[in-house]
C-alpha cells in the first residue's frame, strides 16, 4: 500500500467514525446557521455589504474551530493515537488523513453556510467561493496540527483557540480581501501561498508533535 493508500485508509476511518457517532458535523452545521441568524439580526438594517462579508468569515473560522476541537477526540479515547503512531506508516499520513477528513466536514458545512449567507445577506460570487475553498485548506492543515498539539494538553479547550486564531488571521485577511476587493486574484494567490507554506510545515512537523 502506498502513502496515499494510508492517508485514504485513515481519512475513511474518520468519516466512518463521524457517520457512527454524528457528534461533530451536526454541531458544526447548527453552529454556523445559528451564527448567521444572529448576525442577520445583529447587523443594522442598511449596513454595508462589506461588513456582512466579514461576518461570513467570522462564522466560518469559529465553526472550523468547533470541528477542530473534536478532531482528535476519537484518538484520545483508548489512546488510539498511540496505536497509529506505532504503525509502520509515515506519521505525516496520520496528519494528512485527519486534515482530509476535517476538510470534508468543513466543506459540507460550507455547502450549507454559503447559500444561507446568500439568503440572509447577499449572494456569494465566484471569488468568495474560491476564497472559502483556499482558506479551508489552510484552516484544515494548520488547525489539524494545532489540534493534535492541544489534544495532549489538559486545557485543550483553551489552548486550541489561543494557538489557532492568531494563525488564522492571514486566512481571514485573504478571504475577506478575495470577497470584497475588485482585484480578488491577489488575495487568492496569497491564500494559495499560505496553504502551500503552512501545509508543508505541518506535514514536516507532525512527526515531532506525536513523538515524546
Amino acid at each position: 500500500m502506498t502513502y496515499l493508500g494510508d492517508v485514504l485508509t485513515l481519512a475513511r476511518k474518520d468519516l466512518l467514525l463521524e457517520l457512527r457517532a454524528r457528534d461533530t458535523l451536526p454541531a458544526m452545521l447548527l453552529f454556523v446557521l445559528s451564527t448567521l441568524v444572529v448576525f442577520h439580526f445583529a447587523l443594522p438594517a442598511g449596513a454595508d455589504e462589506v461588513a456582512a462579508q466579514g461576518l461570513l468569515w467570522v462564522a466560518l473560522v469559529f465553526t472550523a474551530l468547533l470541528g477542530l476541537a473534536r478532531a482528535w477526540a476519537p484518538e484520545r479515547e483508548s489512546s488510539a493515537l498511540e496505536g497509529l503512531v506505532l504503525a509502520p506508516c509515515d506519521r505525516s499520513a496520520i496528519w494528512l488523513g485527519k486534515a482530509a477528513a476535517v476538510f470534508v466536514f468543513l466543506g459540507a458545512v460550507e455547502l450549507v453556510a454559503l447559500p444561507a449567507f446568500g439568503a440572509f445577506f447577499s449572494p456569494v460570487d465566484a471569488a468568495t467561493v474560491a476564497g472559502v475553498l483556499l482558506a479551508s485548506i489552510g484552516i484544515c492543515a494548520v488547525g489539524t496540527l494545532l489540534a493534535a498539539m492541544a489534544a495532549a494538553s489538559r486545557t485543550r479547550e483553551l489552548v486550541l483557540p489561543l494557538l489557532f486564531l492568531p494563525l488564522a488571521i492571514p486566512l481571514v485577511v485573504g478571504g475577506v480581501g478575495a470577497s470584497v476587493s475588485p482585484d480578488p486574484g491577489r488575495y487568492l494567490a496569497f491564500l494559495a501561498l499560505y496553504d502551500a507554506i503552512f501545509s508543508l510545515l505541518c506535514w514536516a512537523s507532525f512527526e515531532y508533535v506525536v513523538s515524546e
Binding site: A21, E77, V85, A87, E212
Partner: protein, 214 residues
C-alpha cells in the same frame, strides 16, 4: 522508531540476526523531577522471553513504553533491533476506536501494517480469542475483558517479531487467560517477547529471562 537522542534503532540485517533484540545500558526515565525508571542494564536475546516483575510504580510500564518507542529515555542508551513493522505492543489501553467494530478496528490496523491475507488473519485471531461472534459489535459495547482480547488480536495481527505485553492478563477471565497462555506457548522460541506481570508464576514455564524492578 524515534526513541530519543541517546537511542539508536535499526532494521535487522543478515549480520545482525544473532545480535540481541534489546540492549539497554544505564537506561533511565524521568518525568520532570520524578524518576519513573531507575538506571537499568538489559539484554534480551532474539526469540527470548523476558518476564518483568515489580511493585506498582517500579517502572514496568515505563520500560515497556521505552522499548515500544512511545517514550524517549532521559539518560542511557537503548537499542531495539526491530523495525516498526515488527513490533507488537499491548498497553494498558486497548488502542482501538470505540465507535468501530472489532472487525473494522483490525481491518484498519491490518491495512496500516500491510498484513498479507488480512481478512483470513483477522478471522483466525477473532476465532482464536473468542470474539468472532461479537465481530460486528462496536468496541464501546465490549466488556473490559473483551477489549483486552481485542487488544491482543491487534498486537498479534501482523505476527510481530518482537512482542511487548504490559500486564496482558489484566481483565481476562479464566478462559481468556488460558487462550493467552496457549498463544504465548506457541510464540515461545519463535518470537521475542517482553512481558510485564504481577503474576510471574503464570508465565514461569515460558520465561527464558527474568527482570525484577524495584
Amino acid at each position: 522508531m524515534p526513541l530519543g537522542a541517546r537511542t539508536r534503532t535499526f532494521s535487522i540485517g543478515a549480520e545482525l540476526i544473532e545480535a540481541p533484540v534489546i540492549e539497554a545500558a544505564a537506561l533511565e526515565k524521568r518525568y520532570g523531577r520524578k524518576r519513573a525508571l531507575r538506571p537499568l542494564d538489559l539484554t534480551l536475546e532474539r526469540d527470548g522471553f523476558l518476564v518483568v516483575t515489580g511493585a506498582n510504580g517500579s517502572g514496568k510500564t515505563t520500560l515497556l513504553r521505552l522499548v515500544a518507542g512511545l517514550a524517549a529515555p532521559t539518560r542511557g542508551t537503548l537499542e531495539v533491533r526491530a523495525v516498526r513493522q515488527g513490533l507488537g505492543y499491548l498497553g494498558h489501553e486497548a488502542l482501538v476506536y470505540r465507535d468501530l467494530t472489532a472487525l473494522e478496528n483490525l481491518d484498519l490496523y491490518g491495512r496500516l501494517y500491510r498484513v498479507p491475507e488480512r481478512r483470513e488473519r483477522i478471522g483466525m485471531l477473532l476465532e482464536r480469542f473468542g470474539l468472532w461472534e461479537a465481530r460486528g459489535e462496536r468496541a464501546s459495547a465490549y466488556s473490559r475483558g473483551m477489549l483486552q482480547r481485542l487488544a491482543l488480536c491487534r498486537a498479534l495481527l501482523h505476527d510481530p517479531e518482537l512482542l511487548v505485553l504490559d500486564e496482558p492478563y489484566t481483565a481476562l477471565d479464566g478462559e481468556g487467560a488460558d487462550l493467552l497462555d496457549r498463544q504465548l506457548g506457541e510464540l515461545r522460541g519463535r518470537r521475542t517477547v517482553l512481558l510485564s506481570t504481577h503474576d510471574p508464576a503464570r508465565v514461569e514455564r515460558l520465561a527464558t529471562a527474568r527482570l525484577a524492578l524495584s
